[in-house]
């Protein structure tokens, strides 16, 4: 890892995130909140895609399931804050644990197609299982996080700092994870699974745990996102969501945790700026995709240096 380059960049990034918001308009605070929440999600996908080499196209579905769990519990069952949060994270994580049993057996394109298919299954459920999910209308009326948690302050800025705190905790945990012996083993599996197997590593278990952990972090992100938006809808789980997410990681730079954070920021910014001028967001997204693969296949963060780590 290029610790020398990451250090200063992280400091600057952190400083902007901490000091910035009070000086910004509520529109920009909102954007920053979105960036931070989706950065958690993008980093979690990076554990799978960048570090383990498992290209998941159904990652947005885990995020969506956690968000739906929050919505259903908080609106229909009037559950308390901690119950809601815990159940939201558990829902996504347990789902990943169940699905991981199947998908951890396969690699590469098979992994991609299977995760895509099961992501679409969950999207189909959210769309068609109307009694529980509200179908296309989704579920609205999720209480404000500040009120639900009983915080003394309300408004976009306190919400932002709560989000930032969650982000920091997740980022630190994920950074520790990828630098741990476990994380190194994941990279070993990505680069040469046969060798890791012959060295005595249980590669299935490592892939499985990687999948479940990534799912857990994605669930955290989904829970916060549900509170941020106040409603959930099937678009959280659809293929466009998974594609945007995939692009965040690739654009930023896979196998670096900073890259996906930048990628998430760039995509959220681009999406909001472009949406202000034109409804052709998907067209632009497609073009950005193509340009990224042509011009910076290793991501912005990795531009100008050979791939390491």
């Amino acid at each position: 890892m290029s610790a020398r380059r990451e250090g200063p960049a992280l400091l600057i990034l952190g400083a902007i995130l901490i000091v910035g918001p009070p000086f910004l308009s509520s529109y920009w605070v909102g954007l920053l909140t979105q960036m931070v929440i989706l950065a958690i999600l993008a980093m979690s996908l990076d554990i799978l895609l960048g570090y383990t080499g498992l290209p998941s196209l159904g990652h947005a579905a885990v995020f969506g399931v956690a968000a739906y769990a929050v919505a259903v519990l908080s609106t229909r069952y009037q559950a308390g804050f901690w119950t809601t949060v815990a159940c939201g994270i558990l829902a996504g994580t347990l789902l990943s644990a169940a699905v991981g049993l199947i998908v951890s057996h396969v690699r590469d394109v098979y992994f991609l197609m299977i995760t895509l298919a099961w992501g679409m299954v969950l999207w189909g459920l959210s769309y068609r299982w109307i009694p529980v999910t509200g179908g296309d209308n989704g579920i609205s009326g999720i209480p404000r996080l500040e009120a639900h948690a009983g915080l003394p302050m309300t408004g976009p800025i306190p919400f932002y700092y709560v989000t930032l705190l969650v982000f920091a905790a997740c980022a630190i945990l994920m950074a520790l994870l990828v630098r741990s012996p476990f994380g190194l083993t994941l990279r070993g599996i990505r680069d040469n699974e046969a060798r890791m197997k012959s060295l005595g590593f249980n590669t299935w278990l490592h892939c499985y745990l990687s999948y479940v952990l990534a799912g857990a972090f994605a669930s955290v992100s989904g829970v916060v996102w549900a509170y941020y938006n106040g409603f959930v809808s099937p678009t959280y789980l659809d293929l466009t969501a998974s594609s945007e997410l995939f692009l965040m990681v690739t654009l930023g730079g896979p196998a670096t945790l900073v890259g996906p954070v930048l990628g998430a920021g760039a995509i959220v910014l681009l999406k909001n700026v472009i949406s202000a001028y034109t409804a052709r967001w998907l067209l632009i997204l497609g073009v950005v995709y193509i340009i990224t693969i042509l011009a910076a296949p290793q991501g912005l963060w990795n531009l100008g240096r050979r791939r390491s780590g």
Binding site: V109, M113, L125, W281, Y289
Partner: protein, 284 residues
């Protein structure tokens, strides 16, 4: 019993459409190892192009021909310009097709608008076959026949012609195939174009019943993927078996438990993968 037969015929109709689409996907994968996310877009473009032709000329036959050729050409150009340079980089290729899929999706919305439509039934195929209590539309039988013809045609092409032999050689070992003088790049372009054309054919054949609507590309994609995963990627026989299995299960699933229609598809895939990770007829 009547219900059962009617539902089976409906299932067979879904299977016919799925086979048309999945055979293209599996061919592309077999030769180029590309997971083509834009395959659903080809299917969608097929219906839309046919719609444009049919509203002007009223001929389904002409619309089918134009749609297959136009979408095939789009596929050929896409492969030449964007995919060829990423040979043996499956992830980059997949992302490229995803970028194209997003692009096609929005472009179609821009050109044709988001209103759903169905293609007009061809005059000769209106009405239904009535045998006792079973009533089944002629058009659906026609589509099943078309799919069967395409299946037989692909089988003959693949197993009994020189082109098929080259194709199989390329699937087995692209480098050796190139060394024996096969133009692998051109062959890949043609296979990709043929796959796109087949998807478009599937779209047009389903046009009078399923029609065209915004989002149809992503509705179809998981179905096609499940077919190919169950059948084994790269295998035509697998696409056939997978299409029939998925068509039947999807149809009976929708009829019996409509809320869980997508879920009933996932179960057979999981079972097949647990027993044979490469699919029924796939090779590792």
């Amino acid at each position: 019993m009547t219900y059962f037969i009617t539902q089976s015929l409906n299932g067979l109709f879904s299977a016919a459409l799925l086979f048309l689409i999945a055979s293209g996907l599996t061919l592309t994968f077999g030769v180029m190892r590309i997971v083509n996310i834009a395959h659903g877009s080809f299917y969608m473009l097929g219906v839309y192009v046919a719609y444009s032709v049919i509203t002007r000329t009223g001929s389904l036959l002409l619309a089918t021909a134009v749609a297959v050729v136009v979408v095939g050409a789009v596929g050929f150009v896409m492969q030449r310009l964007f995919l060829r340079r990423f040979a043996s980089q499956p992830l980059a290729q997949m992302m490229m097709t995803m970028g194209c899929a997003l692009f096609f999706r929005d472009a179609a919305l821009m050109i044709w608008g988001g209103d759903p439509f169905t293609l007009a039934y061809p005059a000769a195929l209106r009405g239904s076959l009535e045998a006792g209590e079973i009533v089944f539309p002629w058009y659906r039988l026609f589509v099943i026949a078309v799919a069967a013809l395409v299946g037989v045609g692909l089988w003959i092409l693949n197993d009994h012609t020189l082109v098929g032999a080259r194709l199989r050689a390329t699937v087995d070992d692209p480098e050796m195939a190139a060394a024996t003088g096969i133009n692998v790049a051109l062959l890949s372009g043609c296979v990709f174009a043929a796959g796109a054309g087949l998807a478009a054919l599937g779209g047009v054949m389903g046009g009078p019943i399923i029609g065209g609507y915004a989002g149809m590309d992503v509705d179809l994609l998981p179905l096609a993927f499940v077919v190919v995963i169950v059948g084994g990627m790269g295998s035509l026989k697998g696409a056939l078996v997978g299409a029939v299995a998925v068509g039947m299960i999807d149809n009976f699933g929708k009829a019996l438990v409509p809320e869980l229609s997508y879920f009933t598809l996932f179960a057979p895939m999981v079972i097949v993968l647990a027993i044979k990770p490469t699919g029924l007829y796939g090779r590792a």
